[in-house]
């Protein structure tokens, strides 16, 4: 009797578990939760912007089709901070877009794939006259990446890089045309129809902008897989001498020594720290100020630091590799700084280990 009961209960339990699994699998993704987990840290809980650009501007939401938002989330903007989201499903991305739409009650424009055909030579001339002062001569966008610290606080956006492959893939010709014709209220982007251009002129500009697709992506982008996370050199001197060498080499590179400490300082009871690892912290505040303007998340590099380690009589000097870390940020402007910092770190360590 009890065996029959147990078997029946087991079958009922299994059926219930399968039903729950099926319900979970069929449940629509929660756009709000997905937005909060994937987007809000940069764009703000209510889409008002922050490190990332504001998404809740009605003039933005009401002028871009769902396909633009979906492709932007999927592919991001290579080199311009906005990361791709390769692991989100199509349904999850649609759910996020649906949540974005809740920020504004306007009509959603349809995706129109028809190509705009204009005169590319004329478009180039008109672009130079009307667009390049904000978007750059080759569509590279306004200076800075748009993240908060690099954007004047009174500006909601920096002119986007319209030559970015992510943008060109996401934006249809009709969307670019509509933006040129209507402008974006609440941003510096004005209506060029009201400014005096004819629709034919705008078609020519759209055709020129579309030609940015032929520009090859920057070959300078740092590829994470090519870099080691750390720089490690053997020193010819003892630990104490090497620490002094690091300090002198950092000063020679125009850095101020801000702190020299045992590695374990603050982690263990005072007086019990190992004296076989010493950290030299140094800083150049002008460089620091400039790099924070490029990307405020860069604190993971900070403060500049070299660690001198002694093991069995051998001394090594090591640091993070700025080029490796830079690849986490998807920020071309930061890559340039990191190339410079890579050279500085290697100079300091090489000088200290001679």
């Amino acid at each position: 009797m009890s065996h029959v009961f147990i078997r029946t209960a087991s079958i009922a339990g299994l059926a219930l578990a399968l039903m729950m699994a099926a319900l979970t699998a069929n449940a629509a993704p929660n756009g709000r939760a997905l937005y909060e987990n994937n987007c809000s840290s940069c764009h703000g809980v209510n889409g008002k912007g922050g490190v990332g650009v504001p998404l809740s501007l009605p003039s933005f939401l009401n002028s871009v089709p769902d396909s633009y938002l979906e492709k932007t989330i999927r592919y991001g903007r290579p080199g311009r901070v906005m990361p791709p989201h390769p692991t989100l499903s199509d349904a999850q991305i649609k759910a996020i877009v649906s949540h974005l739409r809740s920020f504004s009650n306007g009509k959603v424009p349809a995706t129109l794939e028809a190509l705009v055909k204009g005169d590319i030579k004329r478009g180039k001339k008109l672009y130079a006259q009307n667009c390049s002062s904000c978007h750059g001569a080759n569509g590279e966008g306004g200076q800075g990446t748009g993240v908060t610290f690099s954007r004047p606080r009174d500006l909601p956006v920096i002119a986007p890089a319209i030559n970015n492959p992510g943008f060109l893939l996401a934006a249809t010709d009709s969307m670019i045309k509509a933006t040129l014709m209507n402008g974006r209220e609440g941003t510096p982007m004005k209506s060029f129809l009201k400014a005096g251009l004819k629709e034919k002129d705008i078609d020519d500009i759209v055709t020129f902008v579309r030609s940015f697709e032929k520009i090859k992506p920057s070959a300078n982008r740092i590829v994470k897989n090519n870099e080691s996370p750390v720089l490690v050199y053997d020193s010819q001197s003892d630990l104490k001498t090497t620490v002094e060498n690091v300090k002198n080499a950092a000063k020679a590179e125009n850095f101020r020594i801000i702190r020299v400490q045992d590695f374990e300082n603050g982690l263990v009871k005072k007086g019990t720290e190992s004296n076989r690892e010493v950290i030299v912290y140094f800083c150049n505040f002008e460089t620091l100020n400039n790099v924070l303007a490029v990307d405020p998340r860069v604190g993971l590099f900070l403060p500049c630091r070299v660690t001198v380690v002694e093991r069995e009589g051998k001394v090594q000097v090591m640091s993070i590799n700025p080029r490796y870390l830079s690849s986490m940020y998807n920020n071309d402007e930061l890559d340039k700084f990191c190339d410079e910092m890579y050279a500085i770190y290697t100079n300091i360590i090489e000088e200290a280990t001679l």
């Binding site: 922050g50 994470k224 374990e264 982690l267 505040f285 924070l292 986490m328």
Partner: protein, 148 residues
């Protein structure tokens, strides 16, 4: 041309090295003001069993040098036994230790950034260390959730 662009971008996002770029950083926003979030952060770090070894006041250094900045701090933390074990057996991880969380104000809210520690598993073959990196990563997520 659009199809070609899509293929190029698909290859880029499908490449594990490139895809992990967006996973290398853990970023969280707290709707608390900076002082509240800072207090909650240090409390949560302690509650997770870690010791805060130092707080680097980047904003103070910048201000003293004549630059304007919002509140910007770096919190260093770790468990002495774990850190000692790792730096002994895996010294190549030393430049990324102790653990750190960057915290800075953005108007009335606060942003926190940390490295995804699991990416440094490439520096070690030791299973124990890889498991530890995974746990550190989970703890950072848990700490951020507390502060959120």
């Amino acid at each position: 041309m659009k199809n070609l662009l899509a293929i190029i971008l698909l290859v880029m996002v499908a490449n594990p090295g490139v895809a992990s770029e967006s996973e290398g950083l853990i970023i969280h926003r707290s709707t608390q003001t900076f002082p509240e979030a800072m207090l909650a952060l240090q409390t949560s770090i302690g509650e997770h069993g870690y010791t805060v070894s130092r707080v680097q006041r980047v904003d103070i250094g910048l201000t003293k040098s004549g630059y304007k900045t919002d509140k910007y701090r770096i919190v260093f933390f770790g468990k002495s036994s774990e850190i000692r074990a790792v730096k002994q057996s895996q010294p190549q991880l030393i430049p990324y230790l102790p653990l750190k969380i960057v915290i800075f104000s953005e108007n009335n809210e606060t942003l926190m950034v940390a490295s995804n520690m699991t990416q440094f598993a490439v520096l070690t073959q030791q299973k124990d260390t890889r498991v530890l990196l995974e746990r550190w990563n989970n703890d950072i997520h848990s700490i951020f959730t507390d502060v959120k």
